[in-house]
Symmetry: none
Subunit: 229 residues, 2 copies
DNA sequence: GCGCCCCTGTCATATCGCTGTCATATTTTC
DNA sequence: GAAAATATGACAGCGATATGACAGGGGCGC
């Protein structure tokens, strides 16, 4: 899964650092800005998936930046979480009016931060509505995360599932091991090409006699998913 | 009967207060929001049984919020009653088009409000809430708040009950821990994802040998409730 | 108002399945 | 028949899930 990018805008380096560490541990990519101007520029340039914004900063305040971001089309869709000192309930209202998506009062635990952040991201990223695919009685349904053969459930591992999903949505085309690694395993993993063979075998086994023929070897090149011989 | 929760979204504190008192006397649980953003967030988090929405508010208007709520799956089922100043007949049409379930013109008497509200709730309640669900002899009956296996009552905790209810009304679909936290625990609670595992285990234990197989692990993803396999 | 008990969330630990790799067998090609 | 490519089976490490235990909190009954 591609990790999300989070932009932190806060004038205090120590706080940025603390947050950055927490987020990196949770596998987010982190950008930092120590004032509203820089933050604004980075938001435009880097298009982060979410912005953490300190309420109180010298110069342009966080809330002002929030308003500005929400006003501009390029950044209007970015979710914003405001960070603020405790107790200031009024701020909450103002903050949410300015278009912030959530609001965390300092002090907060890294865990809380990450949890809220996840929630906001989840809300902002509507789950892709994936359609089930079916071929010759072999059906892969992303919503139930299940593969069935004429109604009967098949035993299939995670990697084989992804592999099959890729194949079923990209039929009649030969892929090299390298391409499959990219598409199914994801970009920067280093894995032996031969490993693909092994998973192909596991996939065939899982498909059983009935559907094995769909996964075809293209000698000298790689593999292909096809209904034809 | 468990009392219903009503969310009031209105920018005028005095009106909210008036309504809140009327509703509390009628034994409803009341939530308040003074703008559309907050209202939206609370609707997601608290899952009220009904929303009272002011037509005219600074910023995002009530009707806009109504549309948004109806558009999103999580809130689409929530009944909405629009509050509006007298005379504006046009609004009525727009409001009902936006998906509002009823429409009350100010000024109104508390009695009228409660009466309409009851009517709307009565109409809206049937789906899911009151219906018992049964699968392979496992029966969950919301009206008696009870789970039985072939007639025999099962010992089950509150969280496991909600979890099971969610599962039984959303079968054959894989959910991540994150989604389950959202759906069963509710929005902004922050709880470890692993906690879901624990409650799954408790649920399985409660279901016993007979029905355990219905709650399935989807490795690398989360869990699923299914009668197959 | 007080105390007890159940429920909850978390942690440490145990378990299990998945993964990537290798050695070896089999098939294909020329 | 030899070389190259692919298939297969076995295996150890690792990560994800299951489990058991525990302390705090809250509700309920008294």
């Amino acid at each position: 899964m591609s990790s999300k990018t989070v932009l932190i805008v806060d004038d205090e380096a120590s706080i940025r650092e603390m947050i950055a560490i927490a987020l990196e541990m949770a596998d987010y990519r982190v950008l930092e800005a120590d004032n509203a101007q820089t933050g604004h520029a980075m938001a435009l340039d880097q298009k982060p998936d979410l912005i953490l914004l300190d309420w109180m900063m010298p110069g342009t305040s966080g809330i002002e930046l929030a308003r500005r971001l929400k006003r501009e089309e390029a950044t209007a869709e970015m979710p914003i979480i405001l960070l603020t000192a405790k107790g200031e309930e009024d701020n909450k209202v103002q903050g949410l009016e300015a278009g912030a998506d959530d609001y965390i009062t300092k002090p907060f635990s890294p865990r809380e931060l990450v949890a809220r952040l996840k929630a906001v991201l989840r809300r902002a990223t509507p789950p892709g509505i994936e359609e089930a695919v079916e071929v010759e009685g072999l059906r892969l349904d992303p919503s139930s995360h299940r593969v069935t053969s004429h109604g009967g459930a098949l035993e299939i591992g995670p990697t084989e599932y992804r592999l099959l999903q890729f194949f079923m949505t990209h039929q009649e085309r030969a892929y090299t091991r390298s391409q499959l690694l990219d598409q199914v395993w994801g970009g920067n993993v280093y894995v032996e090409e031969r490993t693909v063979d092994v998973h192909i075998r596991r996939l065939r086994k899982a498909l059983g006699e009935t559907h094995q023929h769909l996964v075809q070897t293209v000698r000298g090149t790689g593999y292909r998913f096809s209904t034809r011989e």
